[in-house]
């Protein structure tokens, strides 16, 4: 088999939680002299390893605070792990939070181009994809409205439409489908399935086991930063349901 498209090796992520946040230089100097800068170490991830091959879909499940989002952020390149390495072979479209790249003061149309550029698309590509975005998000009448006047469902629809215009090698979806009505959720799932069929690798985080079961083939079950189970989706999902 070829090389894995995502290879996470012994990832550990440690956050230094200062008892209070030190923002100013004065505080820093005083506290350093007094040796009061105390760090509480918090290991959000501890020695997590897994591999994903091209075209596979991997689900990350676990309770709140188990390190799922931290893991996704490391793969997306937003965070650097304290220990271990992640090798990602391909371009990543992160849906860590829908509408993350939106500027509330700009109109939807301007945001589409800004967000497209964030994902590495040129202006021409975005112009070509624009009708598709309008059609998928069903927001044709609201393109000249500043995003700050949008409802959260509308922002999510626009965000999903922009992030999935082309065929990224890796799509990261973090709870993104939990907003929006059921009809839109179904539409999104259909689109994700289509991308999977076309060879996109999907990393999926959701608290809805039904969604995870429908989309993912393999699962990493995180529990307090440790890998509790790693393997076939159906089996682990059943176990996870029991665990609950």
């Amino acid at each position: 088999m070829s090389q894995p498209i995502i290879e996470a090796k012994n990832i550990s992520m440690c956050f230094n939680m200062t008892s209070e946040k030190i923002d100013s230089f004065k505080e820093y100097v005083i506290k350093t002299i007094k040796r009061q800068v105390s760090y509480d170490q918090f290991w959000a991830l501890d020695d997590v390893s897994f591999e994903v091959y091209k075209g596979q879909s991997l689900g990350l499940i676990g309770l709140n605070g188990s390190g799922k989002s931290t893991m996704l952020k490391i793969i997306a390149g937003v965070l650097k792990p304290t220990k271990g390495t992640v090798t990602v072979r391909g371009n990543v479209a992160p849906l860590i939070e829908l509408g993350a790249g939106f500027d509330m003061d700009l109109t939807a149309r301007e945001n589409v181009f800004l967000n497209g550029a964030l994902l590495g698309h040129t202006r021409e590509e975005m112009e070509a994809a624009f009708p598709d975005i309008i059609q998928f998000s069903e927001l044709g009448n609201f393109m000249e409205v500043p995003i700050k006047n949008y409802s959260s469902g509308m922002v999510a629809r626009l965000g999903f439409s922009v992030a999935t215009i082309d065929q990224p090698d890796i799509l990261i979806v973090d709870e993104a489908l939990s907003v929006g009505d059921f009809r839109f959720q179904e539409k999104c799932q259909a689109r994700i399935h289509k991308m999977l069929d076309n060879g996109t690798t999907v990393l999926f985080v959701s608290h809805s086991i039904a969604q995870v079961q429908s989309i993912c083939q393999r699962i990493v079950w995180l529990d307090h930063g440790h890998v509790k189970r790693y393997g076939d989706a159906q089996e682990i999902c059943e176990e996870y349901k029991q665990f609950k």
Partner: protein
């Protein structure tokens, strides 16, 4: 090195969008819109030249133009360094969620300052026309001090944005510092009125260098001295290098402190 350049090229569209956004947001909901980039420096210059030509009379030929040219350089530096300083903090929401080379935010702010610089430069030309000042071909060389000043400002912006993430005090300090710096740059007074010890300090200010070079070609129809050019170029490159090194070392900690 080539991976850095590739990465930069990949995100070039983003740089353009970010710069456009900075400009758009600044003039959103104003009736005259982008026309303000030209109108604002023009109006500011009118006020300043009226005030200063009547209040303070230094022995300077064409005093309004003397001030205005000073304003062009100093305001550019002030604008670029201050907005560059706030670039990383302002892009908080993005940096937390999407991977983007972070220096782009600083560069985009400096770029939008450069666009404002074009506007204030145009305003200066308009005033020169209105005052029937002589125009010379050598003025085309004005781009040299402007480019040097832009490189210098980018270095300052990168440096400040990186340290501000950790210590927010810098924001307040910098506002005070630029005010002091304005009086250490010969914007409103001629260098000849300075006592000897003051002259040395003012002359050591990198901005003085760029400003004197700028005035030489714009107003006095003469080539700037090679020494000023060399010193100015070295200062710009050194500042950029410092900014890049500090920024590069700090950038992975941004997300933890932002």
């Amino acid at each position: 090195m080539s991976t850095y350049i590739q990465n930069f090229l990949k995100f070039k569209p983003l740089l353009i969008e970010l710069t456009g956004r900075d400009i758009k947001i600044k003039y959103r909901r104003s009736v005259l819109g982008v026309a303000w980039t030209l109108l604002r420096p023009l109006m500011m210059m009118t006020v300043l030249s009226v005030v200063f030509s009547n209040l303070f009379r230094f022995q300077v030929e064409n005093f309004p133009l003397y001030i205005l040219s000073g304003q062009v350089i100093f305001n550019f530096f002030n604008d670029a360094s201050t907005t560059g300083m706030n670039a990383i903090i302002g892009a908080k929401a993005l940096i937390k969620k999407v991977y983007v080379p972070k220096y782009l935010f600083v560069i985009s702010r400096v770029f939008s300052s450069i666009i404002n610089l074009f506007a204030s430069f145009t305003a200066l030309l308009l005033v020169m026309l209105a005052l029937r000042a002589d125009m010379h071909y050598i003025s085309f060389l004005a781009f040299i001090p402007l480019v040097l000043c832009a490189v210098f400002s980018l270095g300052v912006g990168l440096f400040l944005s990186a340290v501000t993430v950790k210590f927010r005090d810098i924001m307040h300090l910098w506002a005070v510092f630029t005010t002091a710096l304005m009086y250490l740059t010969p914007v409103i007074y001629p260098m000849s009125i300075l006592p000897d010890w003051m002259y040395k300090i003012v002359n050591a200010n990198p901005l003085t260098n760029y400003l004197v070079m700028f005035r030489d070609v714009m107003l006095y129809n003469m080539m700037f001295s090679g020494k000023r050019f060399l010193v100015g170029a070295v200062e710009a490159v050194v500042m950029l290098a410092i900014g890049m090194i500090v920024f590069y070392k700090e950038q992975d900690t941004f997300i933890l402190n932002i």
